[in-house]
């Protein structure tokens, strides 16, 4: 840190120009966490390779840091190499890790958009919906974000894709149910 300060102070000379951005390697969302006010994880999505132990460690640390923040503070915090953007919706915290050079305000918009889609899908979503249908929450996220990038800017298209896939799943199950009934009667 003192080193960083030193750079800031000493790079007032012209050589310092434009170095800040070009060095960054890749820019994307690193992970997204949903957790409750009690610190229970409700959803976690990792967009970069990280081992299980490390995931747990990051989650634990981050949850405790975010829960300690006061409501009036801003929605961003610097944590290790990441910038954390979080927002609380009712009893759930939505928390994303992005690059330092990423647009924090847009990340807030991404979180909000995800909440809106969940809300539309479940019809005024609450924590319980996400607990009991966690896989659905994942499916929705997978239609909205991919590889840490925004995949579809239109709410309706995301919803339509998830609903169509749901329908396909049900068709599948119905066909199966019919088949097993037929089998029972020895009619297959």
């Amino acid at each position: 840190m003192s080193h960083k300060l030193r750079q800031i102070i000493s790079s007032v000379q012209p050589e310092g120009i434009n170095q800040g951005w070009s060095r960054k390697s890749c820019k994307m969302m690193k992970f997204m966490l949903l957790f409750s006010r009690q610190g229970k994880v409700r959803l976690q999505k990792w967009f970069y390779a990280v081992g299980d132990k490390e995931r747990k460690k990051i989650t634990r640390e981050l949850v405790s840091i975010v829960l300690l923040r006061k409501p009036k503070m801003c929605n961003f915090l610097d944590w290790k190499d990441f910038k954390i953007v979080y927002k609380r919706y009712a009893s759930l915290f939505f928390c994303c890790a992005v690059e330092d050079s990423d647009n924090e305000l847009l990340t807030l918009e991404v979180i909000h958009r995800y909440v809106e889609i969940l809300d539309k899908y479940f019809g005024s979503v609450c924590e319980l919906d996400i607990i009991f249908n966690f896989e659905k929450a994942y499916f929705i996220l997978d239609e909205f974000l991919l590889a840490g990038e925004i995949q579809e800017p239109s709410k309706n298209r995301v919803l339509r894709a998830v609903e169509n896939a749901d329908a396909l799943q049900e068709e599948n199950q119905e066909a199966e149910a019919t088949r097993s009934i037929l089998e029972e009667f020895g009619l297959s």
């Binding site: 102070i9 961003f76 924090e104 966690f134 239109s154 169509n164």
Partner: protein
């Protein structure tokens, strides 16, 4: 085999648990059932079981047994199975697992499935967990899908390409020609994904920017359409048309316009339009403005536009929304180096942000304050920062005090102000002052000879006022000054303002420091040295000083005890030499910043000269007042430990056998061989002192072997390594000799190491290499190697031979295993 629990029931059961133990037992039982199900190859309920494993995984319990089952689900023909199977693969597997290879085939098949939803599952999984091998295997399939007519599949394929480029940058060649046609697509998802892909390619390979420059006009057109287009329900967010796409395009413009006048000019109008027309009542509008400002400041935009951008930031800074204030500080911090004057205008607002209760904002504001300090505003800014230092959360104190020291070093208007500031920081930040600050400050005090009495009076008063002795750095600096300039403290500064201090009061104060239970051993070491020096500065207090010191010859602290015993011996047996030994230190030179051009990065960080207070690797051996280079060889008497052995290693090699107790005696040997008459024989009782040097040397690996680092045209440079296996620091003792028959002058050795190391070079023992190896220049190099990887050193050597300036370069990487592992 009973029908397994439903997922819903499991969740309900877990939620109804009253205690953590209940939860654990339910989960254990469930896991056992699931494993049984898996073992019996129950394909009917596999999907349900894997879903349960995923829930259990989310609660933080072990879930490895679900990995293979998830893969089995993937190859099932049922969509439900596939959907859960791929979800499981994304959650449970990370790319290091070998099972990953098994997935590649399924992915390949499913990407060609007739259902777009199955294709989507495969692409989604690939995009989120793609490993290097997968990237290589599946890139052609992804490329094919990028040409697919179906926008739903296409956008996913493009983002997969994005991930592939991230993993294996050289694969990007295949995707480059696709970028332009894809950008012409009407579908926003496809456009957005393409912009992300181009951005990623440019980031991974900056030379790509040139080939994508031709797309600038297309980007401008898309952006213009977005702004001009009326309300479109599909992509509207609070009255703004597709902000996600807008921000991404503006981001890409930043990359393409950097250092390119033509592209920048092409973007000028549209950026101005976005900057003036974007509605800012909502967060989303500010997100676009924020990105626009960053782009304007980073490309070669017109000056009018830059003014506009900085004004937007100024407006942001006054916004009531904390988030907006945060991004304002953040972007000012990024632009401060390009547009110092523009940012300077907002200095007062930034200083106000130091009163914010939010640490995220404080951190940015503090950094920005430091960046804004210059010689005209330093007084005011530092005043604010010191008051910030007194009230800020503890995690800021160290950084803040280091920052103030640095800024003062750079811009201080005069030395008196500098010393006052330094003192204020020491008293305000107390023990949060970093260790390296102490030698830096001592150096500063020594170098400004007119201020000695002023400084020591101020420090003395500070000690008297804060009499609880809790602030170690302050006491250390003060003790050093009192010892060194005790006489000037008593006589006062020449321009009046005299505080009357009695000689014995000073000693009483130091005595209290030594006896206090609050002061740490480093501080005590400073204090005992000060007492010793005062015995010369105040001849009338000789007996008192001797008594104080003798008292500590039974100290439980090894370091203090040893010093006390040695000093007592100096009093009793070698009193003639005492005044010579304890003479004033030669004044340090002013730190010159351009000394070591090559390792400038580390250069700033090292204490400017000589004063190495706590050599981490060898415990607390160093005497705080021991000059390393400034030659006062006599001072080595105070330090029998590592310095003596390391600096004179070359001359006395036979005795520095690891662990050899005789080490302690090498002072004696030294005095015989080097400068006999000046030295007394080693005090006898030193052998009786259970010295910690012995321990530390036995513990450290010290190799008597010499490594030739450089040997060219008669100049020979050798390295000796010394390292305590438990620490990250490797000490290199460098010894240079001249085997030619003409002497070399102005010998300078510079070194650089890769970024992952830290380099610190202590000053050399001299700069002249006499002919025929008749002397040697020794220098100590410290390398901090936190990752334990093999170090590399690049060397640059300059010297003068027969009026000719010679520059040599070299590299050394033959570090033996024990020096870094």
């Amino acid at each position: 085999m009973p029908v397994p629990n439903r997922l819903r029931d499991l969740i309900r059961n877990i939620r109804s648990c009253k205690t953590a133990a209940d939860e654990r037992s339910i989960i254990q039982k469930e896991c056992a059932d699931i494993r049984n199900g898996f073992r019996e190859e129950d394909s009917q309920f596999r999907c349900r079981n894997v879903a349960k494993v995923l829930y259990i995984y989310m609660l933080g319990y072990p879930s490895h047994f679900g990995q293979l089952e998830a893969l089995k689900l993937i190859v099932s023909s049922k969509f439900t199975d596939k959907r859960i199977g791929y979800l499981g693969a994304m959650l449970l597997l990370d790319e290091h697992r070998e099972v990953h290879l098994l997935m590649t085939n399924s992915l390949k098949n499913d990407m060609e499935n007739s259902s777009q939803y199955v294709q989507s599952l495969a692409l989604c999984t690939l995009g989120n967990v793609c490993s290097t091998e997968m990237a290589r295997d599946l890139a052609p399939d992804v490329e094919k899908l990028m040409k697919n007519a179906n926008a739903y599949v296409k956008k996913k394929a493009i983002l997969c390409a994005c991930r592939i480029v991230r993993k294996v940058p050289e694969m990007m060649e295949n995707f480059i020609p696709l970028a332009k046609p894809l950008l012409a697509d009407k579908n926003h998802g496809v456009m957005l994904a393409t912009v992300s892909l181009i951005t990623e390619m440019c980031r991974k390979n900056p030379s790509m920017c040139t080939s994508f420059k031709k797309l600038v006009s297309t980007l401008v057109r898309i952006l213009k359409n977005l702004i001009m287009a009326g309300y479109s329900p599909e992509h509207d967010v609070n009255g703004i048309s597709d902000p996600f796409l807008q921000v991404h395009i503006i981001q890409l413009m930043k990359i393409l316009g950097q250092n390119d006048g033509d592209s920048s000019e092409a973007m000028n109008d549209i950026l101005a339009q976005v900057a003036t027309n974007t509605e800012t009542s909502k967060n989303v509008g500010n997100a676009i403005l924020y990105e626009t400002v960053l782009t304007i400041m980073d490309i070669k935009s017109e000056s009018g536009l830059r003014v506009l951008a900085v004004n937007i930031l100024g407006r942001f800074l006054l916004n009531t929304d904390k988030n907006i204030r945060y991004v304002a500080l953040n972007s000012l911090l990024k632009t401060v180096h390009t547009d110092m004057n523009a940012v300077q205008r907002h200095r007062t607002t930034v200083l106000d942000c130091l009163k914010d209760p939010d640490p995220s904002i404080l951190r940015r504001a503090m950094e920005l304050c430091f960046a804004l300090i210059n010689s005209t505003n330093i007084r005011g800014t530092v005043r604010e920062l010191i008051s910030f230092l007194s009230r800020c959360p503890v995690e800021f104190k160290s950084d803040c005090s280091s920052g103030i020291f640095l800024a003062a070093e750079k811009f201080s208007p005069n030395t008196r102000w500098h010393i006052d500031t330094m003192l204020k920081v020491l008293t305000t930040a107390g023990n949060y002052v970093r260790d390296d600050a102490v030698p830096n400050l001592i150096h500063l005090l020594s170098a400004t000879d007119k201020m000695h009495s002023y400084a020591s009076q101020k420090l003395y008063m500070a000690l008297i006022e804060g009499s609880d002795f809790s602030q170690q750095p302050l006491i250390q600096v003060a003790s050093w000054c009192l010892g060194e300039y005790g006489d000037e403290l008593i006589s006062g500064p020449p321009d009046g303002e005299l505080i009357t201090v009695k000689e014995d009061e000073v000693l009483v104060l130091l005595d209290r420091i030594l006896k206090s239970s609050v002061t740490n051993s480093v501080t005590k070491a400073y204090a005992i040295n000060a007492v010793m020096k005062l015995s010369v500065r105040f001849p009338s207090q000789r007996v008192k000083a001797q008594n104080i010191i003798r008292l500590h010859s039974v100290s439980h602290n090894m370091e203090i005890q040893q010093r006390a015993v040695e000093y007592t011996a100096l009093f009793i047996k070698h009193d003639v030499l005492r005044s010579g030994v304890l003479e004033n230190m030669p004044q340090f030179e002013k730190p010159s910043r351009e000394e070591n051009g090559e390792n400038s990065e580390d250069d700033d960080a090292k204490p400017p000269e000589s004063e190495v207070v706590i050599p981490n690797s060898v415990g607390q051996t160093g005497s705080p007042t021991q000059p390393q280079s400034n030659v006062d060889v006599l001072m080595d008497l105070v330090d029998l430990g590592s310095y003596a052995t390391s600096t004179y290693h070359e001359n006395n090699r036979p005795i520095t056998v690891p662990g050899d107790l005789d080490n302690l005696l090498d002072l004696g040997v030294l005095s015989n061989s080097d400068s006999g008459s000046q030295f007394p024989p080693a005090p006898q009782n030193i052998n009786g002192v259970p010295s910690q040097h012995t321990d530390s040397q036995a513990g450290s690996l010290q190799d008597p072997a010499e490594f030739s680092a450089f040997d060219k045209s008669g100049l020979k440079i050798s390295f000796f390594f010394e390292r305590d296996p438990s620490s990250n620091i490797l000490n290199i003792l460098l010894s240079a000799r001249n085997t030619t028959d003409t002497s070399f002058t102005d010998f300078v050795f510079q070194a650089a190491v890769p970024k992952s190391f830290e380099l610190q070079m202590l000053p050399p023992s001299g700069s002249v290499l006499a002919a025929n190896s008749s002397n040697s220049v020794n220098q100590k190099i410290k390398i901090t190697n936190p990752n334990h990887v093999q170090p590399r050193i690049r060397m640059r050597i300059t010297y003068n031979c027969r009026e000719e300036n010679i520059v040599e370069m070299g590299e050394f990487n033959r570090f033996p295993l024990y020096t870094w592992q």
